[in-house]
């Protein structure tokens, strides 16, 4: 048992409904001094930070946003367990003032647990603007808890809130006995003579069925609201959010708006990041050249120089080029989340995703996969059910990411110059169809852990605070770079070694290890029409990063690494070694065959399972090979050569 009395630094837990401004308050309290990890045993984000005020300091823990604490839902279990087992010294309950009744339900549950509670009456300005006059003193009296009105997005009232929290901590440490046991809810209004049980481990009395306890708490909440809130005149019949939803969820406009938003997100992410990524790539290349010269002057052995420059620095460069689109994409997602659109998008895609056995929220990972599968896989975190998350992660690599486009363009211009667009589009479409089919199959075989339900609050639209969006973007992006970085770096080093060993073999020649691997694998690819060692080696490199397929073919056909997709010598080399049919089979293989290393790293990290990671690597290989063979052999049968 973790006893709070022996804790050196007091713990403040922040609890509240989703959309109550909990994250904004946490950011306002901790600023940048926060740490994001996972709750033990589950991949639900756990955020912790430090706060100091008036010479005292405390650890602040952000609990998952929940509507209640009584159910078996993962978020609620985490929040309840933390409160009852870790026993924070004070719970700061963030309450949305504009929606007091629903929010007070959680407050009453917290009070029933007997925890020391300070309430942040958040979005107090919005409540005023809506004409809600909340009698804070009366509310405080009714609940028996300290209450501080706050506007977390503007950091208003945060100082007073912290003062109240630290005051509660000192009272608690002054009388430790009463703090840990036998605390009774102090609220003075009671709608029912039988107040809930006070064994902190059990929120509800077995004698009081959950439904009755819920009804009692909501009844109490409604009564409190009635006695402390005065509503000015009747507000407008329709709130601004309702009016916006009339358009956003309109049967005719909903999907055009949805695709427009997705398109805008892509434009934002990729057109803005391309120049930055290109600049970073150039800078890294220049840096590598500079290091190479410096080391040659210093007389370092050639192998060491090559390893450092072509291996390590080039690997870091690949990672850095990943960063801009990922940060921008996270920025766009955080923005759409904060503004309230993601809930609407999930709502309108629920039926579409439901057709392949997935939840409405699973559309986000799918869409993001077109940019980069890694971001798509990370976005699967927003799914509640482990099955939905797993299925979305496993099929995501089938969505054609932007790194595969150069391969399509190279082959399409070499063989189908007049039908380029159609060929490229057919591959994108094939990816989507395969993802849907595999999702459907997987969702049959993977048992649902919780019955898939779609119950989602549609929060009011709110203008996001850029600072909040930036903090979220930074947290998510930093975590990705940290985790994926090590793997990408390692993989690049391995490939470098493969193409440069054994000593004496010309880099990338048939005698190098990569050449030999290509030679061994080539016969396997023969039924698909491209059984050459260069093609096999290109696919091996492509497993590091799909854009390397083009680069490798460039090296192996002797036209240089930096050859553009349209480069004449590469195109003629490819025309000499492929037929249109085997080229299309090769493109199908390139689309499907294996997630790139960064994607595999993300899958490993997000599923937390070696077996599923192995599966995610193996099934596309089999599927891709089978499809390529089918394309080639069927094509031959109908007379295409």
């Amino acid at each position: 048992m973790n006893d709070s009395s022996i804790r050196a630094i007091p713990v403040i837990a922040i609890a509240g409904n989703p959309n109550s401004g909990k994250t904004a308050l946490f950011n306002a309290i901790t600023g940048a001094r926060q740490h994001v990890g996972n709750w033990p045993g589950v991949t639900v984000e756990k955020k912790e930070g430090r706060v100091a005020r008036g010479g005292k300091s405390a650890i602040v823990v952000d609990l998952p946003g929940t509507y209640g604490l009584g159910s078996q839902a993962l978020d609620e279990t985490i929040a309840r367990d933390f409160i009852t087992r870790e026993r924070p010294d004070v719970v700061v309950n963030v309450v949305d003032s504009t929606n007091l009744e629903r929010n007070l339900y959680l407050t009453i549950q917290l009070l029933d647990l007997g925890v020391p509670l300070v309430m942040a009456l958040n979005m107090f300005d919005e409540a005023k603007a809506l004409g809600l006059d909340i009698d804070v003193k009366e509310l405080s009296k009714a609940l028996g808890a300290e209450i501080v009105p706050t506007v977390a997005v503007r950091s208003q009232g945060v100082g007073e809130l912290l003062d109240a929290a630290f005051a509660a901590i000192s009272t608690r440490t002054a009388e430790p006995d009463s703090a840990t046991q036998d605390r009774k809810p102090q609220y003075s209004i009671e709608s029912n003579t039988s107040v809930g049980p006070h064994d902190p481990a059990e929120l509800h009395d077995p004698a009081e069925p959950y439904g009755l306890a819920t009804e009692r708490r909501y009844k109490l909440a409604a009564e409190i609201v009635q006695s402390v809130v005065k509503t000015a005149a009747d507000g407008p019949a329709e709130s601004p959010s309702q009016r916006i939803d009339r358009v956003v969820l309109n049967p005719w406009l909903a999907y055009p708006i949805f695709f427009g938003v997705v398109w805008a997100m892509f434009q934002f992410t990729f057109s803005l990041s391309a120049p930055v990524a290109g600049w970073l790539g150039g800078a890294i290349g220049a840096f590598g050249g500079w290091v190479a010269r410096a080391m040659e002057i210093a007389g370092a052995p050639e192998v060491v120089v090559a390893f450092l420059v072509d291996g390590i620095i080039a690997g870091l460069g690949a990672l850095l080029e990943f960063a801009p689109p990922i940060f921008l994409l996270f920025f766009a997602i955080s923005f759409l989340e904060d503004i309230g659109y993601m809930a609407r998008a999930a709502l309108i895609s629920d039926r579409l995703m439901g057709a392949v056995g997935l939840h409405g929220k699973a559309f986000i990972p799918m869409i993001l996969g077109f940019g980069c599968n890694v971001t798509g896989i990370l976005a699967a975190r927003s799914l509640d059910s482990r099955r939905d998350r797993l299925v979305s992660i496993l099929v995501n690599p089938l969505i054609s990411c932007s790194a595969r486009l150069p391969v399509y363009v190279l082959f399409a211009s070499a063989f189908f110059p007049r039908r380029r667009g159609l060929v490229v589009f057919s591959l994108y479409a094939l990816g989507v169809v395969l993802a849907a089919l595999v999702a459907k199959v997987l969702s049959v075989f993977i048992k649902p852990d919780v019955s898939s339900t779609f119950v989602m609050e549609l929060p009011p639209y709110r203008m996001p605070r850029i600072s909040g969006v930036l903090i979220q973007t930074w947290e998510r992006g930093r975590e990705f770079l940290h985790k994926a970085g090590t793997v990408i770096l390692l993989a690049v080093v391995v490939v470098w070694a493969l193409s440069n060993l054994p000593p004496g073999a010309a880099p990338g020649s048939p005698e190098s290890l990569i050449g030999r691997i290509g030679g061994v694998m080539a016969p396997l690819l023969k039924p698909a029409g491209f059984g050459r060692w260069q093609a096999a080696a290109a696919l091996v490199f492509g497993a590091i990063a799909k854009e390397l397929i083009v680069g490798t073919l460039g090296v192996l056909y002797g036209s240089g690494v930096g050859s553009a997709p349209g480069s004449a010598s590469l195109v003629s080399a490819i025309q000499a070694n492929w037929t249109p049919l085997s080229a299309y089979a090769f493109l199908v293989m390139s689309l499907v065959y294996m997630p790139c290393v960064a994607t595999i790293a993300a899958i490993r990290r997000e599923t937390g399972s070696r077996a599923w990671t192995a599966f995610a690597m193996a099934y596309p290989l089999v599927l891709g090979w089978t499809l390529a063979v089918i394309v080639y052999q069927a094509g031959r049968l109908i007379g295409l050569a």
Binding site: Y67, E101, R102, Y105, G211, L249, W252, A254, D350, S451
Partner: protein, 116 residues
């Protein structure tokens, strides 16, 4: 038509119609979740809208708006308020015309309740 004030499932309300929740008959965890979100017996609800493909539906209760699937709404029994539908009933009927498995179940349920 005459029987429309009899208890029905939540997704059996017409667009814009209000009702009072009588019973939450969903399986355990979902029932807890719905009740945690404020859908308790006695609560006033209104069918606010329907997603473009006819499912999920949007309801408002206790000042919040929730999206939920018809399959889930089917387990919630409400007593509609007389003449509270703002829009014409044909529109609601039309929406309900596009049946999926879930709403088909709903209709059976409705039929049982209203004794057809």
């Amino acid at each position: 038509m005459m029987n429309d004030d009899r208890p029905t499932s939540l997704d059996g309300l017409d667009l814009g119609e209000r009702g009072t929740i009588i019973r939450i008959g969903c399986p355990g965890p979902l029932r807890h979740r719905l009740m945690d979100m404020g859908l308790t017996p006695g609560t006033e609800v209104r069918l606010e809208g329907v997603a473009p493909l006819g499912d999920p539906i949007i309801v408002s209760a206790r000042g919040c708006r929730l999206g939920l699937r018809r399959a889930e709404a089917a387990g919630i029994t409400v007593s509609p308020w007389p003449d509270s539908a703002r829009t014409d009933r044909c529109r609601g009927r039309h929406r309900r015309g596009r049946l999926n498995a879930a709403s088909r179940r709903t209709r059976v349920f409705r039929a049982e309740v209203s004794g057809h």
